[in-house]
Symmetry: C2
């Protein structure tokens, strides 16, 4: 149960009560009140504490109900055992927004988890939305509201930052003041018992002070909801997220930290990609990207031009560009001749443009102007190293002049220490992102570019296929009645057939005579496979014979297979043999699915055999998967060239494979009790001939399914 | 022609002459003299300038020969057209070391190249070694020698830095003063007309002030010599190199910059790896690694332990560790119980060890002590975020106490801005490398670890095989006489057979009758292939028939193949058909070789067909390749699992494949005129059965070969 409604009272309250305000300067309840008082917030403040008359010069109330005036936001900093009562008071008082600073809940174990749940249920019933518990609080620089115990107040700016780690908030805040980075909103999420990154994304998308949304998260509970919200928000502004706790070592740390279950790396990568969220892999990139987004237009295309007064750093930038999704722009003849006019003969007139070590501001400006006006240039990175004639500040001013002339991003890299400090400050103050190393600047441009692509990616193109859902349900129900969790070829084929997969013509034969009749009906050659609910790995016991071309072949094979089974698995119940059409001439691919704790069913695609087993050449997408993602997940694998056909070979039926991906997506979305499955191999025939699911396997988990409901 | 001898006169001259010293403070010749005077250098200084009596209070001489006293080092800063004469004077005066600061040589084109060559030849004839031209100069902090026009003097320290980019030197110098990084030697290489990174490596290896050698290079001329020297030096101290100009965009920039030909990325990767040089991919890593090496022991093993006062950054570090070659150390029960004794119950007692947000210095110290004494821990990274109770400076002091207690590296990450500034300074002054982000600390530990592995890598294990060099030479000479540059199967097979490769039994048949006789002798089944010096792509014209099982098959195939050739390539000279043993049952691999401009012959290995073509799954090594590298280059490819055998399949003959790699290495080393070759496929048979070279192709370049000689 969740109370919906805007988070506006959290960020723009007319009045704030601090429950647990304290006179003791060492206490968190004191820091919060002090922060609320001293950063320009103009609303009413009500310290609540039964044991004090005045704190920091403000009249204190013994409890919430003693406050006559309306209260928009309560900040709760009392010991854990009193928090429930505080929340009850808030509900009775009609407060709609509360921040629980106090720790000692879910993160401490079972008892804490139960207490947290009771608090959240009480809050929800009383119409109170909760941020936290176990958080630092939040800050809105627009109205000077610092409802946190952070030791510092950030500068105003256009970056909104939320974090699941409170300590990271403090460190980032401290660092931002030195680097001159400003924030619009600053939010510590804590245990995310009610308000999560999803609510925040929704609020920040429409926050006029916010141009870019940054987040640090360790886990997501409602993954699919996060994806939907993020996809929506990305259309309005960039979302850059760093995800901690992804690798197995990280995940171990995460589960002992906030108690949240960290989803797998692959699932997060797929989810971020599908929803257009940019993933930063280091904290440094997170902020480097944010600086680029904070004050820059998004580039129209991938062409980056580098202007430098030193060859080495120009080469380093060009190398970094080659490693990114950006491209070194090719300058037009007009630009080159303008550069020739304005630069000395020893200059570099191609990209990277080398204005040479003795370049003063004027020469930089001439080069920059020529470059930025070139229609083939989508953005520029200006590199400066401090040399004898270099005018650091003058060059910074010259770069600022360019800003806004063309709707192209301009980034700077001023390399050095004290010599370039002032220049870098001028640039930052003027809204030009400035980095210490050329590679940072290139990666930041690349992030801008990736945002453009994320924003412009096509509609997912979800399709609904006619499927015999009832037929599939009957197979699953019957498995459930006999408590079978693993479905082998026979049942799995039945289920996927119901969802429109083509499977080989086949018939169950209980005797060798029946097998021969079946083979004649199907048409030679056929394959014969053991049919038993107890034998999942048929080849291991000699349970498969392929390429049977005559009735005699079939008869012999039937006897061999069944005697093998009797000998090697005497206790297995054997239904007989499956006689099956032998399909040849296609390329083997694997379609699979696993259930991810954060995002639900996740689809896998890869080329069969060695490519999956030895090379791990597979790609993932979160279901449901539409036309666009189904196509792109095939293109993602390195061995995709095999499907397109090498050296003039005929292409495989890629559109049939794409349709299979979407049909699988529909199946696993319809039946959440399917927690794992393989269609292996799916034989993709030459173009126009479709695809055939040769074998399949499904794992069911009724218990998880019940829990989900 | 090259003068050998130590570089000692460059770094420890008793006297220095500045040719082109100037009174004009804006001139380079003034800056150099001023730098020499004002940084503590105690040797004699002789300004040389015919138009001035005194400069900076020093008596000026009109030319070198007017100096009565001995001169150890000359710094030349006259215009390019006067440099040759200055060098002549140096030679006559008996100067053994000269730095040419002046630019305008090789980097400007043909005329400059010729002038530079003349200068170098003159210098060599006169026994003068040259640094530059087109460089910033050099600095030795041990004796205060600043023989450069750098605007700053670096701090003393244990990092030696050389750079092919002078501007990068200036920027790094400037930056180092802010970050508190100290240098032993600082060298700008310029055009490397005489002294190169190879000479410097040799000198710095024995320099007592230098603990780690850092370099930025854009190209290497004598690659093999570099590798030999580097392998030797790496045994004494770590060598970390950043290579610019690798990618195609970068290479374009490099060729317009210093005129040096940038070798390919693959060759540099292979060469660095084979010689134990650590490659840094960003300038930031270059210095982050250097800081770690400057003052730390090398870890015994991969186990890193993280101690943190904040969960988020701990998780981020654990993630980074998982992505590196380091591993999260598993703490012993003793360590864990000691942590339980000293930390509050909410702490994290496993790695990452979370001392919790309210940890003071004492608690950090207790945790660090327990961790560093754990035999399973090979190094520690301490993370600090500034929180309410945090004792930043006290914690820094506590970390310093640990240093040197155990021979294990300790690194720190202090996150934040002003709050942590003093603490970080204390650490840096005490020799603890301190980084702003957790990932940097982990990557630096990883670099220490990679250095240990580089240092301890096995001997190359070069082997010499008996080979019929004369037989191979005859084939090549005959191709040369007829000016053929591409050798097809017949000639190439002859050459590799001479080097001990097993090739299919085969015989040339001029008629269908001869073909049948040959087939009978070889044994059925056979393969028939067109034999013509003009047809390299035999399958394209229907020139191959396989699996011929009877004399009749062979007869028919012979007629088909020859008539195909006549029809499709009427002008080709056809020798007949090659009847060949049909080898089956192995795994196809490709062995290849290309000639790299910097490093000479480079060997390639990959699995055949799709793995090379579509996946690019190949590995490279610079020849000669010994047992160790031949083995590791096979293990490097992702599809190596195929050779080892999947799912209980029998392994291929890996040691035969390894031997083939080494035989190829010997062949291409013996014949430098081979600039490209493929053995494709090499069929690797099951274990114990060897390998057969089914087809081969060789490209010869007599001209390059002449040039090399």
């Amino acid at each position: 149960m969740k109370v919906s409604g805007s988070l506006n009272k959290f960020f723009n309250p007319a009045s704030v009560a601090v429950i647990g305000a304290s006179r003791d300067a060492a206490k968190v309840g004191h820091s919060i009140l002090s922060n609320l008082r001293s950063n320009g917030y103009a609303g009413a403040l009500y310290p609540v504490n039964p044991n004090a008359k005045r704190i920091l010069g403000l009249k204190t109330r013994p409890d919430m109900l003693s406050i006559q005036e309306a209260v928009d936001l309560a900040v709760i900093a009392v010991p854990a055992r009193f928090v429930l009562d505080s929340v009850r008071q808030c509900a009775r008082k009609g407060v709609r927004a509360a921040i629980i600073i106090t720790a000692g809940f879910k993160e401490t174990g079972e008892a804490g988890y139960m207490l947290e749940r009771e608090i959240i249920e009480t809050a929800a019933a009383g119409g109170v939305r909760i941020l936290g518990p176990n958080c630092l609080g939040l800050i809105n620089t627009a109205n000077g509201l610092n409802a946190s115990f952070a030791p510092l107040m950030p500068r105003q700016g256009s970056i909104a930052f939320f974090s699941q780690s409170g300590a990271l908030c403090t460190a980032i805040l401290d660092w931002s003041l030195v680097r001159g980075v400003g924030f619009s909103k600053f939010v510590s999420l804590g245990n995310k018992s009610d308000i999560s990154e999803i609510d925040l994304l929704g609020y920040l998308a429409d926050d006029p002070q916010t141009r870019v949304i940054l987040g640090y998260i360790e886990g997501i509970t409602n993954g699919r909801e996060f994806m939907d919200k993020a996809s929506e928000v990305v259309q309005k502004k960039p979302v850059v997220v760093m995800k901690g706790g992804g690798t197995s070592a990280g995940a171990r740390a995460a589960s002992s930290h906030t108690g949240s279950l960290a989803g797998s790396e692959k699932a997060f990568d797929a989810a971020f990609r599908q929803s257009g969220v940019l993933r930063a892999h280091t904290i440094e990139d997170l902020f480097n990207f944010a600086l680029a987004f904070a004050d820059n237009p998004i580039p129209e295309g991938p062409g980056l031009c580098i202007v430098t007064n030193a060859g080495g750093p120009g080469i380093i930038a060009a190398d970094a560009c080659e490693r990114s999704t950006a491209r070194m722009a090719e300058l037009s003849p007009g630009t080159i001749s303008s550069l020739r006019k304005n630069l000395p003969p020893t200059a570099g007139f191609y990209n990277p443009v080398d204005v040479v070590g003795d370049a003063r501001a004027e020469r930089y400006e001439a080069a920059m102007t020529a470059v930025i006006n070139d229609p083939g240039v989508d953005g520029a990175l200006v590199i400066l190293t401090p040399q004898a004639m270099t005018e650091v500040e003058g060059t910074a001013e010259a770069i600022l002049k360019l800003k806004g002339k063309k709707k192209k991003p301009v980034l700077a890299c001023f390399m050095g220490g004290n010599s370039i400090k002032k220049g870098a400050e001028i640039l930052r103050a003027g809204g030009i992102p400035t980095y210490p190393y050329p590679e940072d600047g290139v990666r930041a441009f690349d992030a801008l570019l990736r945002y453009r692509r994320a924003k412009e990616r096509p509609e997912p193109g979800f399709r609904h296929f006619d499927a015999d859902q009832e037929r599939a349900r009957r197979v699953i129900s019957s498995a459930r009645e006999t408590d079978r969790h693993e479905l082998g070829e026979k049942d799995a084929s039945e289920i996927i057939s119901a969802y429109g997969f083509r499977t080989p013509k086949s018939a169950l034969a209980r005797t060798s005579g029946e097998a021969v009749k079946a083979a004649i009906k199907i048409g030679f050659p056929v394959v014969l496979k053991i049919s038993s609910p107890d034998i999942l790995h048929k080849t291991d016991i000699g349970g498969v014979r392929a390429n049977l071309r005559t009735p005699r072949d079939v008869e012999t094979a039937f006897l061999e297979i069944t005697s093998n089974a009797q000998r090697l698995m005497p206790s297995a119940m054997v239904w007989g043999c499956l006689a099956q059409e032998m399909v040849t001439g296609g390329k083997e691919v694997i379609l699979g699915m696993t259930f991810d704790h954060s995002f639900g069913p996740m689809i896998m695609f890869g080329m069969g055999g060695i490519y999956v087993e030895a090379l791990g050449d597979v790609s993932f997408r979160i279901a449901p998967v539409g036309v666009f993602e189904a196509g792109s997940m095939m293109e993602d694998i390195r061995s995709f060239a095999l499907l397109k056909g090498l050296r003039g070979e005929r292409s495989s039926d890629i559109s049939a494979a794409r349709e299979c991906i979407m049909r699988l997506s529909q199946l696993v979305t319809d039946f959440p009790e399917i927690v794992e499955m393989d269609i292996n191999p799916l034989l993709v025939l030459p173009e126009g001939e479709g695809a055939v699911a040769i074998d399949a396997r499904i794992v069911l988990d009724y218990f998880s399914f019940e829990k989900e409901k």
